[in-house]
Symmetry: C2
Subunit: 259 residues, 2 copies
């Protein structure tokens, strides 16, 4: 998110993290970034227009609400919320303050193939979009994960956590402005040692512009050369597009593949 | 089906079709095949052990029941039935006569990649299979279709007609012996001139060995080099397999691709 904002002409005014290891990591990546003494210092600074945060998911909404109440805009990493109550609260404060609560969906904004697919669909290349199928496998890499990663109340469930990327793309590619979850299921199929983990989830979505199927999971095998073979297929009346976002198995090297 | 049976050592005793154009087509392909005077002649022949039929879908069950009642086994093209009543009747006659009512699912039996995937999954190559995603787009080619193709009561709906292939593969690859349809939907999105056509259908399946998502449609674009970019992804605890059954878009030539 920091890179996106810097590329867009933003200026990094300062940063804060309660965890020393996160401070060290951020400082190493952005050596000129100024560490401030508290989150409040950022909220209260008159020189700051926008606050970006990748806090633990269940803390994002309360931070965003505080940001808007301090007259600033907010950019949260996905997922933007973990409960519907948080969403309702943020909407109320958004209406009241007229500030922006936005969410960074990297799988749409930071993948060149996905950006290009958006242009193609908008230009009518596949006719009227009817449906998307999004497959989002991820590597679990359990030992490297913090404790909150395995607490459902903190990450909000697999469909909220990594499925929110897919919901976002479905809305965007079908031009839907409202949608419902027709059916969904989650499971912990193979990780009884982590009872709070959902290692599989899927859902059928139906919007005013089309339908979608989404599957997300934590089953990327160790042998794959990347963290996940993310796929998106967009079906239209006149054609279809397939994205192999991060790897083209047994195909061309690198990511960003559009077919 | 005829080729499969001949390859398996069968002998073509005779054939029948009410439609002259179908007779001509079959005779051209099997010049030595003997046309008989009626379907009854086949049913009543003491020399015939098995009857194979690709009758219009809603006629398959009654023929199969007659075949079993004449002491013969039956092989129907897919779909094997168009109503649950037909299925119940055929099951009852099967139990009574002890004959076989089988269905030829070409997408599993006649695709080398799919056969090989079955061997790999059985051998444990991807661990325990958890889920399949089957995408079965087909080219509509409406002008070439007979009238019954557009009559729902005759083809049984898109999920029955072409989705039955996918249901079969889900059962096979997850080792499921029973399953339910958790959610399904069908639509005619873009062919108002054929009100009886369902051009899109999808369903979520859950069995005792795993789950599945199935999407079938009649939206293969004219520019694609084959009738459909059929895909099957099998997700397991230790890996996954993707089949590009009939074409590998922007990849290797031909069909039968296993990744």
């Amino acid at each position: 998110m920091t890179d996106l904002l810097l590329d867009a002409g933003g200026e990094l005014a300062g940063f804060y993290a309660a965890e020393p290891e996160l401070v060290a990591e951020f400082s190493e990546r952005y050596p000129n970034a100024r560490l401030v003494g508290s989150a409040a210092e950022i909220l209260e600074s008159a020189d700051i227009d926008l606050v970006a945060s990748a806090a633990i998911p269940d803390e994002r909404a309360s931070l965003g609400i505080a940001v808007m109440r301090h007259g600033k805009d907010y950019l949260a990493d996905k997922p933007g919320f973990t409960t519907l109550e948080q969403l309702a609260d943020a909407r109320a404060v958004q209406r009241e303050t007229r500030r922006i609560y936005s969410i960074c969906y990297s799988e749409r904004f930071q993948n060149r193939a996905t950006v290009r697919a958006g242009e193609l669909v908008q230009s009518g290349a596949i006719g009227r979009p009817l449906q998307t199928v999004g497959l989002g496998p991820h590597r679990l890499n359990a030992p490297s994960r913090p404790a909150w990663f395995f607490e459902r109340s903190r990450y909000g469930g697999i469909l909220n956590d990594i499925g929110s990327h897919q919901a976002d793309q479905f809305l965007f590619f079908t031009g839907s402005t409202s949608a419902e979850v027709v059916a969904s299921q989650v499971a912990n199929f193979a990780h009884p040692e982590y009872p709070g983990l959902e290692d599989f989830g899927d859902m059928v979505l139906r919007g005013d512009g089309g339908t979608s199927y989404v599957r997300v999971d934590w089953f990327t095998p160790d042998g794959l050369g990347t963290w996940g073979d993310g796929r998106l297929t967009i079906l239209g009346t006149e054609g279809y597009i397939e994205l192999r976002k991060y790897i083209d198995i047994a195909g061309r090297p690198g990511g960003d593949h559009l077919f």
